[in-house]
Symmetry: C2
Subunit: 475 residues, 2 copies
């Protein structure tokens, strides 16, 4: 009998793979080891839980442990895989009570995810300093924000899984009044909205000149203007060196222009793949630090797959490896690997780096290669154009200014990527650009796309078409 | 010196062509003959003018005659082209005062548009019976709906262009209480919303079993349910034979189950291309009855182009001719022909038949080949799947059921078309499918598209991806 399909990590990639394999090959044994208590949760929903749009932490669970077991998956929570021996095809697992056991595998999927970075910021261990990675940190933040009489383990709704001690500790503290967000990426922007909803005085620190670096300047400038309109204080071009504390609790932020008194800090300066487990196994990492994989999600080691936030994928535009730790990528790669392990080789699919983001009332989107330096490194001669057009016919109520940037290769005319920002149905329009990248369309082909037009939804020339027309004129 | 570029018809296609030519070749003379008084108006906005979302008729004008003249275009309104002589390269024009003059052309664009059909319904000439084609009919309808003291030529805002006599006549009548919409296509559905906003008792008659035939059954069924919720009485599978009248004014609708008393009727049973002008010229029509054109919008006759609602285009999926009289197609083809005439041969672009529609609170979209009979005629072996999925993450407020149907060719796996319906950002999602058609993607390529995901805008698997997954499982 074949040894089990062993999955390390019980979230999007791991459980998608396990579920798909059990569907296609019900007789194969599947074991999922998860070091924590939470499984199958929607990380992307945590800012909206903190904000209060989502009431209970458990609303963010896609599948309960019971539902996972019903699929025939042998789920073992609080089981940490601490070593992999590819030669013996075994993993070493530490259980909740500290025992170490060996488990043989036929195929292994490493889906260990990523963790939030805090280095090199000093003082990140102080009380009142958070990252946003995992439901426990979201629960602690919300308990901290709620008034002590309203905050409770029951109110956050995490049931048996939540880190009750931390929630109770933050729930007992006086709610913060001033928060510093360190980092103007996804987490910083989404959490600015969440904290503003709790009437905090919100300060956002960004080391470089603009927030949302992967979205380019045109998006960043509109978002920055909008953040200021919403009362967020922006500290651009400002590096935070150190978080100051008193009696173990954060009291301030140190940066060039001097300190700012705060009683809460959220550090969102990026995430790093959880690859420690693979040290010495011979499994190769890519330049990004994440695990290198082929088009089927296979690593260089026989029988070992990797997917999700810990793995690289192939970029649809450059053809080279790319590390894009996002939700769809994880789900899709996991599902494909489940199919492949079941005997139906299924490509995990290329990534375009498509991402969308809500910034208060603005919707932002990006896909493909937008940055000119990145484009040149991939061998292209990039040229971009930015336009602003209405989201609907000008005479129809609700039309809003939508800014689109498209980037193309001058020689081939091939579309390389794009960004969008606006308040009316803007984000979802990036899918047109993402699909055009998958179809390897040129700018003039994009210009001639037969896109939707009706006054309530779009002008005759969709903003993406207008951008293609203008960019086409430059090629 | 080259003879002028002569354009017959002063709306989307004609003026796009004229404007593009003057931009690219300012020295070339361009004459646009328009038989009516209105030019460059947004036909698609008329239901929302009738509804009251748009206040003035003149809000629907994209360009004023003055702005057109400023572009260097010689615009002649109330000039009807009554004959074309391709051998002499001349057109015969009847002016407002009845004179007939000859005009030589170097290149000719026929952009005469289409007219609303009423045949074979008897009684369509009665007072109180309308079609919705052109601003004058929209003005008359709104004047009729408004109370006599509120209705006036000034209130509809058409200025000097509007048919003042008709507006004044309808404005003086008592407003209607019951309206019959004959035909459940775009016009019927959009106008049901417009009439309901004026508190009319709205009856919609559809000859076949479902409204919105080009959108397929899955869309039709949700729209029908929603129309009923909004108080519209549907008469499906019901053919209207005759409109009854008294003293020249409509009083009822005759159909199988007996008559219905109404005081207003809107006939929206389709449009026909305005090709009479070309009888005997040797310009060939296609099977649809519209003018056959090549990829540059050229007819079979040297120097004669056709674009807009009067012309066929090439279908992106079938590769064969298609008559898709819609706004973007007209603008795009006109612009391309302007470029071609200016010396830069520019393809008009294929059509996918992409269309979107607002039906009260529902958004509908369609693109490509959806109908199985049509697919088989084009040589495909069609297979479809319909799914319903959330428009956002399930835990995020505002998620709405979105129904997607995708159709593919069984042999090649190639995507052929799709439809969508839902109340939250549904319509614009059809652009993903339209772009996939242009890229000639297979269903499994669509399944692996890297589309946007963030809880406020989309679930992890966009409804289009979910539909592709399910359809892929059937191939």
């Amino acid at each position: 009998m074949t040894d089990p399909f062993v999955v390390v990590g019980g979230d999007a990639a791991g459980l998608s793979a396990a579920s798909k394999l059990k569907r296609d090959d019900p007789d194969r044994e599947v074991i999922v080891f998860e070091k924590g208590r939470w499984v199958s949760y929607a990380h992307c929903g945590t800012p909206y839980f903190v904000k209060g749009d989502i009431e209970h932490l458990s609303d963010l669970l896609a599948l309960s442990p019971e539902e996972i077991e019903e699929r025939g998956i042998d789920l073992r929570r609080e089981h940490e895989v601490v070593a992999v021996s590819p030669d013996e095809r075994t993993v070493t697992v530490r259980t909740a009570d500290g025992d170490a056991v060996e488990q043989a595998y036929g195929d292994l999927l490493v889906a260990t995810g990523a963790h939030a970075a805090t280095s090199p910021i000093e003082g990140a261990a102080l009380d009142g300093v958070f990252t946003l990675h995992g439901l426990d940190s979201a629960a602690a933040i919300r308990a901290f924000l709620d008034a002590p009489d309203a905050a409770s383990v029951e109110a956050v709704g995490g049931g048996e899984y939540v880190d009750r001690e931390t929630v109770a500790r933050y729930g007992a503290m006086d709610p913060p009044e001033t928060v510093a967000l360190v980092g103007g990426g996804y987490v910083g922007i989404e959490m600015a909205e969440a904290f503003a909803a709790h009437d905090l005085d919100v300060h956002l620190f960004q080391r470089s000149a603009h927030v949302l670096q992967p979205f380019g300047e045109a998006v960043a400038e509109r978002v920055e203007e909008h953040l200021r309109e919403q009362g967020v204080t922006l500290h651009l071009d400002t590096e935070v060196d150190r978080l100051a504390g008193d009696d173990g609790r954060v009291t301030g932020v140190s940066f060039g222009d001097g300190p700012l008194d705060v009683d809460m800090v959220l550090v969102g300066i990026g995430i790093r793949p959880n690859t420690d487990l693979l040290a010495g196994t011979g499994v190769e990492l890519g330049d990004s630090g994440a695990i290198a994989t082929d088009e089927y999600g296979r690593t260089n080691v026989e029988g070992v797959y990797a997917a999700g936030d810990v793995a690289e994928d192939r970029h649809v535009v450059t053809g080279g490896p790319a590390w894009v730790p996002l939700g769809l990528t994880a789900n899709r790669a996991g599902r494909a690997i489940g199919g492949t392990v079941a005997g139906d080789p299924t490509p995990v699919g290329d990534v375009a780096g498509t991402a969308v983001l809500k910034a208060f009332d603005l919707e932002c989107g990006r896909t493909g290669v937008v940055d000119h330096e990145e484009a040149r490194e991939a061998g292209f001669d990039p040229v971009s154009e930015t336009i602003t057009a209405g989201s609907r016919s000008g005479y129809y109520p609700g039309a809003a200014e939508t800014t689109v940037t498209l980037t193309a290769d001058r020689d081939s005319g091939k579309l390389l990527g794009g960004t969008i920002v606006g308040s009316d149905r803007a984000a979802i329009r990036i899918d047109t650009v993402a699909t055009a990248l998958a179809g390897e369309l040129t700018v003039s082909e994009v210009e001639r796309l037969d896109l939707a037009y009706a006054p309530p939804f779009s002008p005759v020339w969709d903003p993406v078409l207008t951008a293609a027309k203008v960019l086409g004129g430059k090629l």
